[in-house]
Amino acid sequence: MADAIFIAAVSLAALSLLLAGIRLAKGPWAIDRTVALDAMTIMASSLIVAFALLSGRRIYVDVALVYGLVGFAGVVALARYLEGGL
Amino acid sequence: MKTLKARVLVFLTLWGVWLVLTAPWSVQEAAAGAVAAFLIAALPFFPSSPLEDLRLSPKALLYVVAYAFVFLKALVLSNLDVAFRVLHPKLPIAPGIVKVKTKLKTPLGRLLLANSITLTPGTITVETRGQDLYVHWIKVADADPVAATEAIVGDFEKYLEVICG
């Protein structure tokens, strides 16, 4: 029961990652893409934790932590670049 | 004295994160983490930290807990608000940027206020200049700074004033 609900949750999260990816591809401006990338980073790091649960390997939770950190730094760097202040 | 407080807080934060990351604890790991956290907190060239502004009186700690609940409630409300606006077939939005004045003086207080505004219903902080915050409001109810201040920051400010002035 719990497994079925969790699989549904992971599928929905993956679907929303895909939908946000449409915005990333469509743009139309760099800002819109970066906004989509910001949301996708959060979804992806949550999905990595879900993958850690499904595969039973704890090390992937650390991967998600580091990915969250790096993604945040990347989005802020992109935003500063677009602002012209990097 | 102020940096001493910041150093202690940095030590506790770093060691706390270390303890969470090494979850089934052993004495050796905990001790190694404590040494590393102490070395970082005792660096001679310690940059001035926003943590200096945190007040640690019992009343302030009580307000931190109350603030957490207010914040979570606002977060849930803002998500329901987003859900309503996104799923509504006509997209009921009338966005604009309004100016809001805060009474908070410390950088930490303003940072927390700006973050809280971003996560509350319909608002995103765009820019801060001194005590003025410029807020993107998805449906501008009132462009007048005084009324907008009351509507947007009123809830958080009274907690943050006690926590970090």
Binding site: I5, A9, L18, V35, M43 | L75, V86, L119, T125
Partner: protein, 132 residues
């Protein structure tokens, strides 16, 4: 039992993810996309991670750490993005009915021009910022 509650929390969290993705697709300009993209992903990831933590208690500490980290950093990155977007607001086609920031920018620029005309060395307020 805890597993079912955790899985249900994850499901609610992923519904908020879906909501933010729909918001990203439906909203008309970058600012409004940010509204959906930031708020819904923050609560969504918190619920998703806490749900996973309930299903596997040995993940709970790290999941809470990641959730707290996201709650702290997500508003910061969206704030940086909003500042960048405001520099491009005309090109983005963003409709901002009252725009207090643009008004104050114009007032500052006008004051700088006046000071320069008066011969004083006015400080440059808008260093390295796109205004188109």
């Amino acid at each position: 039992m805890a597993a079912i509650i955790g899985a249900s929390l994850s499901l609610v969290g992923s519904l908020f993810f879906l909501l933010s993705a729909i918001g990203l697709l439906r909203m008309p300009d970058a600012f409004n996309r940010m509204q959906a993209g930031t708020k819904a992903t923050t609560l969504g990831s918190m619920l998703f991670l806490v749900g996973i933590g309930l299903m596997r208690p040995d993940f709970l500490g790290r999941a809470l750490l990641l959730a707290g980290f996201i709650a702290l950093t997500n508003p910061v990155s969206s704030n940086a993005l909003a500042r960048a977007a405001h520099g491009y607001r005309k090109r983005l086609g963003a409709k901002l009915a009252p725009d207090a920031l643009a008004e104050d920018d114009e007032a500052l620029a006008a004051a700088a021009v006046r000071d320069a005309a008066a011969g004083s060395q006015a400080p440059r307020v808008q260093e390295g910022r796109h205004v188109d």
